[in-house]
């Protein structure tokens, strides 16, 4: 059968448009980060500067507090991702497999927490954390991020557990496993894609969170990188070159992380969607 060329071209063009649209901001980030300061305003709008430089990168890495921000972000995001994934695996399993008295209300409550705009909660949370000495501390951030991400991650994990037939655990229990052994040796290995998806989701959410980081942290020592980026904005000028360079650097770990888990992620996000 001879396919007509036109629809194929239209299809590819549509995809191309979408990709350009989605990736253009990233390209602009990269472009500004390699533009020397003297060309930034003098050349007008150009797709690529006539001369490129890596000075901004060198400055950000050597003379700014960026490495500290970066380390803080990594600690906060990774810890949050691990804490949330462990909690969500256990609670997601419980919601998927057990029936208990207050199940309906717990689920409703968890959904409810997802409906509040975060801004509303900043003040009360500050009030709670402050006497505990958890403001201006990475631990405080990890606790807050974990609390906010656990409900959604629980639903995500629950859908993965729902996709695994109950027969498998029952077979394991008849084979001589306790409920927990069956969970650990049979169910958990099969949920790896789901765990990867949850890890990735929570990691990026924590990596790019600004509001709480800004409110709960002051000073550079415990700042994460979204807060750190703001230090490039001073009262009278914005150092766009350095800010963009820092932005590009901040993208690297998130990009690497997704590269590692993308195989699981695609498999995972679709596996939860359709029972099969």
């Amino acid at each position: 059968m001879k396919q007509s060329l036109l629809p194929i071209i239209a299809h590819r063009m549509a995809i191309l448009c979408y990709i350009v649209f989605a990736l253009f901001p990233l390209f602009w980030l990269l472009k500004v980060s390699v533009t020397p300061n003297d060309l930034l305003y003098s050349e007008g709008v150009r797709m690529w500067p006539s001369r490129t430089t890596f000075d901004h990168y060198a400055f950000v890495l050597r003379h700014s507090a960026f490495p500290t921000f970066f380390k803080n972000s990594l600690i906060v995001s990774a810890s949050t991702a691990v804490v949330v994934t462990v909690c969500a695996s256990l609670s997601g399993y419980a919601l998927s497999r057990f029936s208990f008295r207050a199940k309906y209300w717990i689920v409703a409550l968890m959904l409810l927490t997802q409906m509040f705009p975060l801004v509303m909660l900043v003040a009360p949370i500050f009030k709670i954390l402050s006497p505990l000495g958890l403001t201006n501390s990475l631990t405080g951030l990890i606790i807050v991020y974990s609390a906010f991400n656990v409900p959604f991650a629980t639903f995500l994990m629950q859908s993965f557990f729902d996709g695994i037939p109950k027969d498998l655990e029952e077979a394991a229990m008849i084979d001589g496993a306790t409920k927990f052994t069956a969970f650990r040796q049979i169910i958990l290995p099969l949920t790896l894609p789901g765990i990867a998806a949850t890890l990735g989701f929570v990691f990026t959410a924590a990596w790019s969170e600004l509001l709480f980081a800004l409110m709960l942290i002051n000073g550079n020592a415990a700042a994460t990188f979204p807060v750190g980026l703001l230090t490039f904005v001073s009262k009278f000028s914005v150092d766009f070159g350095q800010m963009m360079a820092a932005g590009v650097l901040a993208l690297i770990p998130a990009g690497l992380f997704f590269l590692l888990i993308q195989r699981y992620l695609v498999q995972g996000l679709t596996a939860g969607a359709v029972k099969g």
Binding site: P165, D167, L168, E170, A171, A172, M173, I174, D175, G176, A177, T178, T181, I186, P189, L190
Partner: protein, 352 residues
């Protein structure tokens, strides 16, 4: 190997009662088939024996010990699931040895046990494969292998063949029967397929609506069904039923014609009856005797021919090996040999 006793067993979910007082004694080494339509409680009963469902009332004893409150892992039984429930992330060998590894058996012993089970089932060349890379029949074998690799007190089968195609089902059915002959293991087998029930069972337990309808050998159930449900469920094509009354010392059909049947001594004048006869026992007569029936449909099965008739406006089936039946048109004459007539009272219970 062990006997299993079930006493006054009940199961309910909230207010919904699904099993009503089941009593059953299963002897050591016996092959029991639980058969019935879907929703009759047969799978629930099996899962209660396995320990996957709790007991609402009554008692289950395996080898004389009450197991009501024991976890599945402590009951020492093996189960083959309808979905096979193979562990997808483990090789065939690992699937089969999982129960032994959980019991911390020595590695060499595990190797020997897996090898012997694999050779029984012809799985040797597949031991390193993952379940994903197996055909349906092979998966079924692995599920069996996982059950026989340790010597459990009993084997439970939950519709193990219903995911296979007809040819493979026939083959596996024979293999299960052969395996039971070799192992002499107490087995409980759940199915809705009456051919599987008839061919495999030492005794069949026919269930309906959470109640045991009849327990007996396959031929007992076929020859002397205890009630209308069993009569209609066992046999294919199903038994024909005709309404009748007992009047003036004989059985009268709806059209008023009398019919010769072996009557029980205690029967009340004027009471309603149901008369049953299996399609294969109906005789097509050519000498003009018998009753007239209109032919509506002819189904050749190769082995024999199923004639769909209409008798007094009631659908009626005849199964015959006579190829000449293929040519019949319009009306034929059929007769019911008295020795093959089953009689049920108006509660559906067998009376003769």
């Amino acid at each position: 190997m062990a006997s299993i006793e079930i006493e006054k067993l009940e199961k309910s979910y909230g207010h919904v009662s699904v099993l009503h007082g089941i009593d059953l004694d299963i002897r050591d080494g016996e092959f029991i088939v639980l058969v019935g339509p879907s929703g009759c409680g047969k799978s629930t009963l099996l899962r209660m024996i396995a320990g996957l469902e709790g007991v609402s009332k009554g008692e289950i004893r395996i080898a004389g010990n009450r197991v009501n409150d024991l976890h599945p892992k402590d009951r020492d039984i093996a189960m083959v699931f309808q979905s096979y429930a193979l562990y997808p992330h483990m090789s065939v060998a690992a699937n089969m040895s999982y129960s032994l590894r959980l019991r911390k058996m020595a590695k060499e012993k595990i190797g020997v046990a897996v090898a012997s089970a694999a050779s029984k089932l012809g799985l040797e060349p597949l031991l390193e494969r993952r379940p994903k890379a197996l055909s349906g029949g092979q998966r079924q074998r692995v599920a069996m292998g996982r059950a026989i690799v340790r010597q459990p007190k009993a084997f439970l089968f939950d519709e193990p063949l219903s995911n296979l195609d007809a040819r493979l089902r026939e083959q596996m059915r024979a293999e299960i029967k052969k395996m039971h002959g070799d192992l002499k293991a107490t087995s409980i087998y759940v199915t809705h397929d009456q051919i599987e029930a008839m061919t495999l069972a030492d005794r069949i337990v026919a269930m309906h609506g959470g109640v045991v309808q009849q327990v007996g050998s396959p031929l007992e159930l076929y020859d002397r069904p205890a009630n209308l449900f069993v009569a209609g469920f066992i046999g294919s094509p199903g038994m024909n039923f005709l309404e009748a009354t007992y009047a003036g010392g004989s059985v009268k059909l709806k059209d008023g014609s009398g019919i010769e049947a072996r009557l029980p001594t205690s029967i009340q004048e004027g009471s309603g009856l149901t008369l049953g006869i299996r399609p294969e026992h109906v005789v097509i007569t050519s000498d003009g005797s018998g009753r007239r029936a209109a032919v509506e449909l002819i189904e050749p099965t190769g082995f024999g021919i199923i004639l769909h008739l209409s008798l007094h406006g009631i659908p009626f089936k005849v199964f015959t090996l006579d190829r000449q039946a293929l040519a019949v048109r319009g009306e034929i004459m059929v007769s019911f040999p008295p020795e093959y007539i089953h009689l049920f009272n108006d509660e559906g219970t067998r009376i003769g």
